[in-house]
C-alpha cells in the first residue's frame, strides 16, 4: 500500500495530554525515536481543564505528610479496590515528578518560605495539592508541551488513530487519518503508549470535551488488551447546572478545599447528614469543628464537604431527589459568605471568570448552583504497575485510559500526579522494549492496513437503507447512558441499557456521512462513535455484574458494599464484536502496607 503516507518510530504515543506528553518525554530521554499523535492541536488536550492541583506528599506545609499517608488516603478513597502497587508507586514518586516540572519552567504558587504551596482537597489528610490558582492543568500541559517542543519530539497534530495494528499478538503499528486532508497515515512501530484519556462523552452531562470518546479503551480492547474496573465512573459533585448550555462544566473541588460549603434550598449545610461509617472517625460532625480544621488539622477533623467525590455526589443527588434542590435542579455551593472577595478572586480566578461570563453569577457575592457531572472513568486498560505494559506485547497505557490506580473512586488531585508518574514509567518501558527488539520487529501487514482503510471509509458508503445522522446517534447514546447507567443504577435499568445499546449499535451500521474527507466533523464523529458504543457497553456490562455499591458504582438494589465483591475486579475482553467478562481476584498487599490500615 505504497500510496499511504508512512512513518517509522521506536515509540508512538497516542494522546498529548499530561500522560502522553510525559510518556513521550521519557521515551525520548531513553533514546527512542518518538512521535506523539493527537486528535486536536497540541496544548488543547483535556488536561488543560484540570483545575485544582497535583497531589504529592512533599510536606511543604504539613511536615507530617509522607508517601505512606498519601498511599493510605488513595486506597481508602478507592475503597480498597486499587491496584496497591500502583497506589504505592504513585504516592512515592509524585513529589519528584512535580518538582521536575519546575525544572522545565512551571510556576506553581508558593509557600511563605518560597517552596511549592499545597492546597486541601477531598479525601486527603493533609494539604497536598501543588497548584497554580485554579488553572493547574493549563500550567502542567504548557510546561510539558514546551519541554516536548524543546526536545524536538515529532508531533502529529489533528491526526486520529483508528486502529492499533498487531503482528502475531504484538504491536506492529498504527493506522490513522489526518483531519485536515482526510488522508490516511500508517505508523510502523513496535511500541505504542495509549494516553487517550477517558470516556466522559458517552454521557449527556459531562465535564469532558469532545475528544473523550474512549478511543484508547477501544483501541486497546480491539487489539486484545483487557479492561478492568469499567463499572466505576466518577461523577464529580460540582458541575455547573445553569444556563443549560454550560450544564456539566466543572466547578473545581478547590472551592470546597478553600472553604466553600454545600447548602440545600432550606439553607442547611446538609453534608453532615451523609457521613458514612467508613469515614466517621476522620470527619467532623459539627460545623464548629469543620470550620476549625482549615487552620488546625491536629485538633479538628475534616469537614464533610471534603469527603471523597463519590460520597458528596451521592449526597447531592439525594438532596435534589428529596425536593431540597436549587431552582435549576442543583444545590448551592457557597464560598461568598465564608471568604473575602479578594481571597476568592486570588485563589479561584477562573471560577470567578467562568461564572461571571457564562452565568452572570458573581461568586464573591452569591452562591453557585451546582450538581453532579460525569468527570472521570476509574476503569481502563489493565496494566502492569511498574511498567504500564498491557497484556498485548508492545502496548502500554498511562493516565485515565489505564485502570487500577484509583480503584473504585479517584481522589481529586490524584489524576495530575498519576499522569506524571505513570506517563513517565510507560514511556520509559515502551522505549526499553523497543530497544531490546533490535532488528526483529513485528511487521505491519498490508491486509490489516487495507482493512483499516476500508473500515474508516465505511461511513461514506451508501448503506442503501435508512441513513443515520452521527450527531443524532451520539445524542441518543448519551441519553441512554445518562438515564440508565448514571450515578444510581439498578438491574432493570442496566438490562434495559444493554438492550438499547444493541439497537444503537445496529443503527450505527447505517451511519451516512455528508461531504468529503477534508476536515469533516461528521465523519470524525462517526469513527468516534464506534469507540463510544464499545466502551458504553463495557460500562453497562460490568455495572450489571457487580451487585454491590462501592465508589463510583452505586446500585439501588444492592446499596451496601460486600466483602466478596471487595476482593475482585471485573475484567472485560472483546472478540469479533462480542464483549465478555470474568472475575479476577485482587492482588494481595504486602504485610507492611496492610499495617497502615490496621493502625486506625
Amino acid at each position: 500500500m505504497a500510496e499511504f503516507e508512512r512513518h517509522s518510530y521506536d515509540v508512538v504515543v497516542i494522546g498529548a495530554g499530561g500522560a502522553g506528553l510525559r510518556a513521550a518525554i521519557a521515551a525520548h530521554d531513553a533514546g527512542a525515536r518518538t512521535a506523539i499523535i493527537c486528535k486536536s492541536l497540541l496544548g488543547k488536550a483535556h488536561t488543560v481543564m484540570a483545575e485544582g492541583g497535583a497531589a504529592a506528599a512533599m510536606g511543604n506545609l504539613w511536615p507530617d505528610d509522607s508517601w505512606r499517608v498519601h498511599f493510605r488516603d488513595t486506597m481508602r478513597g478507592g475503597k480498597m479496590l486499587n491496584n496497591w502497587r500502583m497506589a504505592q508507586l504513585h504516592a512515592q514518586e509524585a513529589p519528584e515528578r512535580v518538582l521536575e516540572l519546575e525544572e522545565w519552567g512551571a510556576l506553581f504558587d508558593r509557600t511563605p518560605d518560597g517552596l511549592i504551596s499545597q492546597r486541601d482537597f477531598g479525601g486527603h489528610r493533609y494539604a497536598r495539592l501543588a497548584h497554580v490558582g485554579d488553572r493547574t492543568g493549563l500550567e502542567m500541559i504548557r510546561t510539558l508541551q514546551q519541554r516536548a517542543v524543546a526536545l524536538g519530539i515529532d508531533v502529529f497534530m489533528e491526526c486520529t488513530v483508528t486502529e492499533v495494528l498487531t503482528d502475531d499478538g504484538a504491536v506492529a503499528g498504527a493506522f490513522g487519518y489526518w483531519r485536515e486532508s482526510g488522508r490516511f497515515i500508517v505508523f510502523e512501530t513496535p511500541s505504542i503508549v495509549l494516553a487517550t484519556g477517558g470516556i466522559g462523552k458517552v454521557y449527556e452531562v459531562t465535564s469532558n470535551s469532545w475528544e473523550y470518546t474512549g478511543d484508547g479503551h477501544a483501541l486497546g480492547l480491539r487489539a486484545g488488551a483487557p479492561l478492568i474496573n469499567m463499572e466505576f465512573v466518577q461523577f464529580h459533585p460540582t458541575g455547573m447546572v445553569w444556563p443549560p448550555s454550560v450544564r456539566g462544566i466543572l466547578v473545581t473541588e478547590s472551592v470546597r478545599g478553600d472553604g466553600g460549603v454545600l447548602k440545600n434550598s432550606e439553607g442547611e449545610r446538609f453534608m453532615f447528614n451523609y457521613i458514612p461509617d467508613f469515614f466517621k472517625a476522620e470527619t467532623a460532625d459539627t460545623e464548629e469543628e469543620a470550620d476549625g480544621w482549615y487552620d488546625d488539622k491536629k485538633n479538628n477533623r475534616r469537614p464533610p464537604e471534603l469527603l471523597p467525590r463519590d460520597e458528596v455526589a451521592r449526597a447531592i443527588n439525594s438532596e435534589i431527589k428529596a425536593g431540597r434542590g436549587s431552582p435549576h435542579g442543583g444545590v448551592f455551593l457557597d464560598i461568598a459568605s465564608r471568604r473575602s472577595p479578594e481571597f476568592i478572586q486570588r485563589r479561584l480566578p477562573s471560577m470567578y471568570h467562568q461564572f461571571k461570563e457564562l452565568a452572570d453569577v458573581d461568586i464573591t457575592a452569591e452562591p453557585m448552583e451546582i450538581g453532579p457531572t460525569c468527570h472521570y472513568v476509574m476503569g481502563g486498560v489493565e496494566v502492569d504497575a511498574d511498567t504500564g505494559a498491557s497484556a498485548v506485547t508492545g502496548l502500554y497505557a498511562a493516565g485515565e485510559v489505564s485502570g487500577g490506580m484509583h480503584g473504585s473512586n479517584r481522589l481529586g488531585g490524584n489524576s495530575l500526579s498519576d499522569l506524571l508518574v505513570f506517563g513517565r514509567r510507560a514511556g520509559l518501558n515502551a522505549a526499553y522494549y523497543a530497544g531490546r527488539l533490535s532488528e526483529s520487529r513485528p511487521q505491519v501487514s498490508e491486509r490489516d492496513v487495507t482493512a483499516a482503510g476500508k473500515a474508516a471509509l465505511a461511513p461514506f458508503s451508501d448503506a442503501g437503507r435508512v441513513d443515520e445522522n452521527p450527531y443524532t446517534l451520539q445524542k441518543d447514546l448519551q441519553a441512554t447512558m445518562q438515564r440508565l447507567v448514571g450515578i444510581i443504577r439498578t438491574r432493570e435499568e442496566l438490562t434495559q441499557a444493554l438492550v438499547e445499546l444493541e439497537t444503537l449499535k445496529e443503527r450505527a451500521k447505517h451511519i451516512q456521512v455528508e461531504g468529503h474527507r477534508q476536515y469533516n466533523p461528521g465523519w470524525h464523529l462517526a469513527l468516534d462513535l464506534a469507540n463510544m458504543l464499545l466502551v458504553a457497553e463495557c460500562v453497562a456490562t460490568a455495572a450489571l455484574e457487580r451487585e454491590e455499591s462501592r465508589g463510583g458504582h452505586t446500585r439501588d438494589d444492592f446499596p451496601l458494599p460486600s466483602e466478596d465483591w471487595g476482593s475482585k475486579n471485573l475484567v472485560l475482553t472483546e472478540k469479533d464484536g462480542v464483549v465478555s467478562l470474568k472475575h479476577q481476584p485482587l492482588q494481595t498487599m504486602p504485610g507492611e502496607l496492610q499495617q497502615l490500615f490496621e493502625e486506625e
Binding site: S40, L41, L42, G43, K44, H46, V48, M49, L99, E102, E103, W104, G105, L107, F108, D109, R110, P112, D113, G114, L115, S117, V132, G133, R135, L138, E139, R142, Q146, V149, A150, M157, E180, S209, W210, E211, P243, P244, S245, V246, I249, S350, Q354, E357, L358, A359, N469, P470, Y471, T472, K475, V513, G515, H516, Q518, Y519, N520, P521, G522, W523
Partner: protein, 254 residues
C-alpha cells in the same frame, strides 16, 4: 427565551468560499458556539470548526464574530439583539483550511524558535525557592490559553504575510517576557526578542490586549517592559559595561 437566530457562516476552503445564510433555533443562556453546534447537528454536518473545552480554557474555538476576534464559547448571544444577524468568519491572519478552521502552524513554528527555559542549579537541599511576588508576573503570562487571537488581530501580520518570517507576534513576546522575568532562568533572550522575533516592529497599539480572552495585559505588562529591557541593554553604556562586568542575573545571551 428561545428564538430563531439568523446567522451567516463562512463556508469554503483555501480556493474559494462564501458567507452562507442559516436560521437556527437558540435557547436562553447560549453562546455562539452552541448555535454553530446546532447548525452542525441539524443542517450542516460537515461544517468544520475547532473546539474542545467549551469553557474558555483551551483556546480552540477562536473566530471572528461580526468582525471581532473572539472565542465562540465565551461569546454570549445576549450580547446581540435577537433581530441581529450574527456573522461568523475564520481568523483572517491565518490561511483557511476549511470553513471556520485555519492553519495556525505559524504559531507552532514560532514556538520552536524560542530558546527553552534553562534554570541554574537548585538549592543545596535539591529544592527551588521562589517568592510568590516574583512568580506572579510570569503567572499572569502563563494564563495564556494559546487561542492566537492576539496574533490574529496584530496589524503587523494581519494583512502583511511578508512580515511573518521576521515577527513572532504578541503571544511569543509574552513568552519572552515570561522567561526574562522568571526568577530562575539563566538565558538572556533580549537580543533575540528584538532581532529574530521582531519586537521592534510592535508599535504598541494594544489591539492584542483588547482581544485577549484571559485579560492579560500583553502590551503594558509584557511588551513594553520587554522593550525597556532591550533598550537598557543596547543603549545605556553604563548598563552595557555593568553587564560585562557583573553579568546581569547571571544570564547568558542566547
Amino acid at each position: 427565551m428561545g428564538y430563531d437566530l439568523s446567522m451567516r457562516v463562512w463556508r469554503g476552503d483555501v480556493d474559494s468560499g462564501e458567507l452562507a445564510p442559516y436560521t437556527v433555533p437558540v435557547e436562553e443562556g447560549e453562546v455562539v458556539l452552541d448555535a454553530v453546534h446546532r447548525l452542525q447537528a441539524t443542517q450542516a454536518p460537515d461544517l468544520a470548526v475547532r473546539w474542545n473545552c467549551k469553557a474558555g480554557k483551551c483556546g480552540s474555538c477562536s473566530a471572528e464574530v461580526n468582525g471581532r476576534p473572539r472565542l465562540m464559547c465565551m461569546t454570549r448571544l445576549t450580547d446581540y439583539d435577537p433581530d441581529e444577524t450574527i456573522t461568523v468568519t475564520p481568523m483572517r491572519t491565518f490561511p483557511v483550511v476549511k470553513d471556520l478552521v485555519c492553519d495556525v502552524s505559524y504559531n507552532y513554528e514560532k514556538a520552536r524558535e524560542l530558546p527553552a527555559f534553562a534554570p541554574g542549579p537548585p538549592d543545596p537541599d535539591g529544592k527551588r525557592r521562589m517568592m510568590q511576588a516574583d512568580v506572579e508576573r510570569g503567572q499572569e503570562f502563563r494564563k495564556c490559553i494559546e487561542c492566537f487571537l492576539c496574533q490574529n488581530t496584530c496589524h503587523v501580520i494581519r494583512d502583511h504575510e511578508e512580515n511573518k518570517p521576521a515577527f513572532a507576534g504578541p503571544r511569543f513576546f509574552l513568552r519572552y517576557a515570561e522567561l526574562d522575568m522568571h526568577p530562575l532562568d539563566t538565558n538572556d533572550r533580549r537580543q533575540l526578542a528584538q532581532e529574530a522575533a521582531g519586537l521592534g516592529m510592535c508599535n504598541i497599539t494594544k489591539c492584542c490586549t483588547e482581544v485577549c480572552p484571559e485579560n492579560i495585559k500583553i502590551t503594558d505588562n509584557a511588551i513594553i517592559p520587554m522593550k525597556e529591557r532591550v533598550v537598557d541593554r543596547r543603549y545605556d553604556p553604563l548598563v552595557w559595561l555593568g553587564s560585562k562586568i557583573f553579568r546581569r542575573d547571571e544570564r547568558t545571551e542566547v
